[in-house]
């Protein structure tokens, strides 16, 4: 048979119709663009288990799909979310919880107290605050389908705070079946009782993750404030788009292909000026805190004078300017607990008020008996603010008399090397820079970096018994006022022994295109309450 031109055209049309058909079928189930939010968040979603990792992207995913027993309001006070009633016994040893009506998983099954207990136990095995609670937990009796207890071995006031916190790991409630998975293994099924359901069929791994409104979700009646109140969903679909290239993301929001960029590149913000439909808004008003950790196990930072020198030589404004340019997006941080947190205070901040003082730093380095050995500074070059911090601070360290060896690599290599306890000339290190959510710094017990328990603690391994005693005291305190006073004492002591140092606090704006009602809070972008158009 010979192929005629007519036959070729007929064949081509038939092939075109065949390939186009599935698109038409799919169009019937795809929500309208006006009812879909496409958001570029700060990274790719690789892990779907919020217990298995502390990655914030995973927590964003989990907040869509799962619900929590408690949320927090804008004062970070716990408020019931899945719970309707709760109480703590007078001896502060027994917590009673009762679930509210209408809670269902997206597979249609009822949320029970057994699901909650299993979820709490799995979460507590991995989370810092959870572990603190678990060490004091005697039992978790289930009273009936809707009621359970946490029975503590000793008086304990922090359980509800841990269950409510928005900083990772968050205690999301899963079905008992998934919650019984070994906490060191990832769950395989994603079924929650949250305001959205995860649409696995529409997911393109590495590019987009799709969440559809959970029609069966019953929100609370109170207004939505942070993670507390009614999680009312106003759109049909939310898509997490992963656009790795920052310039492409900016181009995409200008062209109207996406509705939001969580952290647009600050250098490219000027290209959004004049775009009437796009506004820049700082969502995380507490911001992010840049900190440097010094290694207490080896000279020179096993000497307090050398650590104090670091406090005097850092100029936060210069570090922040190098990355964020506009001063409205950053400030310095003098409080151990970050600026703007409930525990912020001004105890012992003379070093900050005095500003950068290289001469003072020089004197302290001399007093420390520093012998001129190379000081290894780990330098992550692939993250702009870390790159700038390392370059600038290394230069100030040189001016203060340190013989700095700046060792460049990507962040992946830094987080491996920072775990090495050997001396710096044998693969170890002296200084590295990282950052964290200010919200996390506000809690001296939950943040592992606040511990000063030596080699059992976080990288840098500071040791200070007095500091540890303050942390225990803070955990046992029965009122906020008492905690604030302990935090003040803790800071007074900390800026003497210098567990670590801060190089600035910043507030990166999000770019929003025709979105209103987005709840600005630390650690999370909630997609309930948001309206498009």
């Amino acid at each position: 048979m010979t192929t005629t031109r007519r036959r070729f055209v007929q064949g081509s049309l038939a092939a075109g119709a065949l390939t186009a058909a599935p698109a038409r079928l799919r169009a019937q189930t795809t929500p309208a663009v006006s009812r879909t939010i496409r958001a570029v968040l700060h990274g790719d979603l690789r892990v779907f288990d919020p217990v298995w990792t502390t990655a914030n992207m995973t927590s964003y995913h989990a907040a869509m799909v799962y619900d929590t027993l408690f949320g927090v309001d804008d004062k970070f006070e716990p408020k019931p979310q899945m719970v309707s009633k709760y109480s703590l016994s007078d001896d502060r040893k027994v917590y009673n919880f009762e679930l509210r009506d209408g809670l269902r998983f997206s597979d249609g099954s009822q949320v029970t107290a057994r699901d909650c207990v299993a979820s709490i136990r799995r979460w507590a095995a991995r989370d810092g605050g959870g572990q603190h609670m678990l060490a004091r937990l005697a039992d978790t009796p289930v009273k009936d389908d809707k009621s359970f207890q946490l029975v503590m071995k000793e008086p304990y006031s922090l359980a509800v705070e841990w269950l409510a916190k928005a900083a990772t790991n968050v205690c999301y409630i899963m079905r008992e079946k998934e919650a019984q998975t070994d906490p060191m293994q990832q769950i395989q099924t994603i079924i929650g009782s949250g305001p959205f359901t995860f649409n696995q069929d529409a997911v393109v791994q590495g590019q987009r993750y799709v969440y559809d409104r959970n029609a069966a979700y019953v929100p609370r009646s109170e207004p939505a404030v942070f993670t507390s109140g009614g999680k009312v969903v106003n759109v049909d679909r939310v898509v997490f788009e992963n656009i790795a290239d920052e310039a492409t993301a900016i181009a995409a929001i200008r062209a109207g292909e996406i509705d939001m960029i969580e952290y647009p590149n600050v250098d490219l913000l000027s290209s959004l000026e004049g775009e009437k439909e796009i506004k820049l808004e700082v969502l995380n008003k507490q911001g992010q805190l840049g900190w440097g950790r010094v290694n207490w196990l080896h000279p020179p930072f096993n000497n307090v004078k050398a650590r104090q020198a670091m406090l005097h030589l850092i100029h936060p404004t210069e570090v922040m300017k190098a990355t964020f340019g506009d001063e409205k997006y950053f400030k310095g941080c003098s409080s151990l607990f970050g600026m703007g947190t409930p525990m912020e205070n001004d105890a012992n901040i003379g070093w900050f008020k005095g500003g950068q003082n290289i001469e003072k730093a020089k004197q302290l380095v001399k007093e420390s008996g520093y012998d001129g050995r190379p000081v290894v500074v780990l330098h992550a070059t692939n993250i702009a603010y870390m790159n700038n911090a390392a370059n600038l601070i290394a230069q100030w360290m040189r001016q203060a008399g340190f013989n700095v060896s700046l060792q460049a690599s990507d962040w992946g290599a830094v987080i491996t090397r920072r775990a090495v306890k050997s001396p710096p000339d044998q693969g170890g290190w002296n200084v590295f820079f990282t950052s964290g959510s200010v919200n996390a710094f506000g809690n001296p017990v939950a943040l592992s970096g606040h511990a000063a328990n030596g080699e059992k603690g976080w990288f840098g391994w500071p040791t200070d018994e007095k500091h540890e005693a303050f942390r225990d005291k803070w955990a046992a305190a029965s009122s906020d006022a008492e905690r604030r006073q302990i935090a003040r004492d803790m800071q007074q002591n900390a800026w003497d022994f210098v567990p670590h140092m801060y190089y600035g606090q910043w507030f990166q704006p999000a770019a929003l295109r025709n979105l209103t009602g987005l709840i600005g809070m630390p650690e999370l972008i909630p997609f309930w309450n948001v309206k498009k158009g």
């Binding site: 892990v47 590495g206 290239d245 995409a252 292909e257 491996t416 970096g449």
Partner: protein, 314 residues
């Protein structure tokens, strides 16, 4: 011929084995620990150690290599450390965008480049020749991301003719598929066009000096027949060789182009995996790329005998 193919296929296996060993050792001796990345920034050293043990990353290197090699022999590339998804599945999910981009680029670049090369050789020394060669130099020297961003600015932001980013599957219809691939194809194809056009021109110039071309002209054959039938066919071997070698260029370019245009292909898969030290994905993709490269060059070698029947394989 058959024994030649069998011999080349056997050498492909050898090459891929060496690539496998090299990649495995390179990754495991380079800095970076997936367990530390998985655990997150606030994880304690104890938690990282527990994850490392769970993933088997604490086992001796030889044990890890043997475990991986046994799986690969059985056709199992392992499971992504992060997403817990089989690497084979991830590669298959990403294959369509990458294949679409690579094949379309190849088609686009070869058809444009050969035509330009033939015209330049035909009009050697003329303004057309100089313009075409100038374009080739520019095409080869401009980085893909510069070309990509420029095209995005003009055609997606200013003119709004084409989408900025993303990929639509062929199953969503030919229209959306091709619309999303025009800018990436042009971006990726430019360097390839430059390379092939220059080679075509050089090869054609050599052939056009041959006696049989003069004879053909003397016999009065048309310019078109002389160029396309007599000259181009005889100039084909070096052109096909360069197309084959250019596959490496294409593979490298795919990685950048997929990032700039946010195409969820294999290039982006491997870039993301490198930043996260997701060893099974990196190993699997590099094995795949090396296999493709070796096989494409085998096909190129075999095509020589079709282009020039004087070439025989034993």
């Amino acid at each position: 011929m058959l024994s030649y193919i069998a011999h080349r296929l056997a050498s492909t296996i050898l090459v891929m084995t060496l690539v496998g060993i090299f990649v495995f050792l390179l990754l495991h001796f380079s800095a970076g620990d997936p367990a530390a990345i998985i655990a997150g920034d606030y994880a304690t050293p104890q938690q990282i150690v527990a994850i490392r043990q769970r993933l088997g990353l604490d086992d001796p290197l030889l044990v890890q290599f043997w475990r991986w090699a046994l799986r690969v022999i059985k056709g199992d590339l392992g499971v992504s450390i992060f997403s817990n998804t089989p690497v084979g599945v991830l590669i298959i999910q990403r294959l369509e965008p990458t294949l679409s981009l690579a094949l379309l680029t190849m088609l686009f670049a070869v058809s444009i480049a050969v035509s330009l090369g033939v015209i330049a050789a035909w009009r050697v020394g003329s303004l057309v020749d100089r313009a075409l060669m100038g374009f080739s130099v520019l095409g080869f020297s401009m980085p893909a991301f510069v070309v990509g961003y420029s095209l995005i600015y003009i055609f997606a932001i200013e003119l709004r003719w084409l989408p900025v980013q993303g990929y639509r599957s062929l199953a969503d219809g030919v229209g959306p598929w091709i619309l999303h691939l025009i800018l990436p194809t042009v971006t990726l194809g430019l360097a390839y066009i430059a390379l092939i056009a220059r080679m075509t021109r050089a090869s054609m110039l050599e052939v056009l000096e041959e006696d049989y071309i003069r004879t053909a002209k003397a016999k009065g054959v048309t310019t078109r027949t002389m160029l396309m039938k007599h000259a181009l066919k005889n100039a084909g071997v070096p052109i096909v060789t360069v197309i084959g070698i250019g596959v490496a260029l294409l593979i490298g370019g795919v990685v950048i182009t997929e990032t700039v245009f946010n195409i969820p292909g294999i290039g982006r898969l491997v870039v993301d995996a490198i930043s996260k030290r997701d060893y099974p994905i990196i190993q699997g993709v590099i094995l795949l790329f090396s296999g493709i490269y070796v096989l494409v060059n085998l096909l190129v070698d075999l095509s020589y005998s079709l282009i020039d029947p004087r070439i025989r394989y034993r």
